[in-house]
């Protein structure tokens, strides 16, 4: 397995930090150089052994770098890529951990121009309850999926190199187009977040919100867990994936109106078939984990 003699992590948070630690644990990396907006975060990452040194600037960091990992929010990627491109040499790979891909690819094309082939977009599906370098752990990606969305301009060798790095971290890597990635995550991640925020907001807005919340039990608690996610991050994801998310929202609204018709017409068999189909589909995928019938 070809080592990465020098890896640059730009944005050493949970994901970037765990990627560095996992590559180190796999013995796949020589030196890890950290870059980022907050020097305090970089100092933390240095003391935690996540990075071996803090880069002085892009010129220093990119000199002889084999791979750059972008771990910042997707809204910042274009500016970061623009600032690094003057110092980028031909053999340096770039990859990222952004939650949306169509917008990141557009940003990368705008910033990298003819060097776009050096950028292999990615999205590791992993997380933890905490963020920042102190939450980073080498096992974060074990058994988790990483989606790569290779571009026509990427050489197979470049894509393979990024795949090998993630596989060394214990991840299962698969390829999707950026568009397919964004539609998929609009359905199984972005829309559920929107729905959970909507429910909590709808209740929080009422005069008797406190009373209502006081009767909410574990079903409500789990349903709305993702409504405790970071508002800024989710604002950015929603805006970045707007067309796909609007399409998902409309499909869901149609489904809700269909259910409303069943309910308004007291169509018991219709409701039961719908619930049963949903339960069977979910149980087939998740094994009916942790269902309580408390309500």
């Amino acid at each position: 397995m070809a080592r990465f003699e020098k890896v640059v992590i730009c944005g050493v948070g949970l994901i970037g930090g765990s990627f560095a630690l996992a590559l180190k644990a796999a013995g796949l990396v020589g030196e890890v150089v950290g870059l980022g907006r907050r020097s305090e975060t970089l100092e933390d990452a240095l003391h935690l052994g996540i990075i071996d040194r803090i880069g002085a600037d892009w010129s220093d960091a990119l000199n002889d770098a084999d791979m750059v990992f972008l771990g910042m929010p997707v809204g910042q990627m274009e500016a970061v890529l623009l600032s690094m491109v003057p110092y980028l040499s031909d053999h340096t790979l770039i990859t990222d951990g952004g939650s949306t891909k169509t917008d990141v690819v557009a940003s990368a094309r705008a910033a990298l121009g003819a060097r776009i082939g050096q950028f292999v977009p990615g999205h590791p599906i992993a997380g933890a309850e905490r963020s920042g370098p102190s939450a980073a752990q080498p096992e974060l990606f074990q058994g988790r999926r990483v989606v790569l969305t290779p571009l026509a301009e990427n050489s197979p060798a470049c894509v393979d190199r990024v795949r090998v790095a993630w596989e060394a971290c214990g991840a299962q890597v698969c390829n999707l187009t950026p568009e397919r990635h964004d539609r998929t995550f609009a359905a199984v991640s972005h829309l559920p977040h929107l729905l959970a925020y909507a429910l909590v907001h709808e209740i929080a807005d009422r005069e008797n919100a406190d009373q209502l919340f006081s009767f909410a039990a574990s079903g409500f608690r789990d349903f709305t867990r993702i409504a405790s996610s970071h508002p800024e991050m989710w604002r950015d994801i929603c805006l970045a994936n707007r067309p796909a998310l609007l399409a998902e929202l409309d499909a869901y609204l149609t489904q809700l109106l269909r259910i409303r018709v069943l309910l308004a017409s007291s169509d018991g068999p219709g409701l039961e078939i719908l619930f049963d189909t949903a339960r069977k589909a979910r149980d087939a995928w998740f094994g009916g984990q942790g269902v309580t019938s408390e309500e």
Copy 2:
């Protein structure tokens, strides 16, 4: 504390069985008699020490009974009450564990007639992953809420007696009107179930459902946990609480359309305020439990 010399549990499942065990543990009950549709369930309950004997029939079971607990699905309550009413003496209290209250009260009025004052409707907010008598446990109601929806015809003494029984089981008892109960649970329980079923069904219906589910992570898993609930039970709850649930569904649809406008117009600040309000409200109630930022 006045003991219940004889308690009849009709429907000895998780809730009815746990109620019996908790009353026994509190030393508040003399004999517990079980009744139900399935003799196998009753035999199990007998062997597990949940009930002391199986009632021969209503006449036998109700003779000198202090309290009857109805533990069957709400759709069956009217028929059960009709079959027991000829054998009911003046001093026997009746209470239930049904998930909806307006419909149960209507059924009880229809079945009990002038004896309606003997029926104190209730709803213990508790559950477990398993059902049936083998899942029953005396601690099930410790620290959980029980809602009573007393009727104008109930004497304060009757209501107090039911309250005392639940408090002896470790529950926190509060009173709501049946209508307020049903509106409250439409908002914090019934609607979320409908929304979770709707999302899973919407995805399960697609050609690429398998691929979509394969990328669903813990956010989706928890959001849809309640879509693995029992379809028949939830069909009955939806139908029993139809008016309140339709009102909640419409309020939610309005909220979703409001979010759709924010998204379609790329109103980042508007989305962020909405997400932030929701997160703060949820965290205030649930302390931000178990939030992962994996997406």
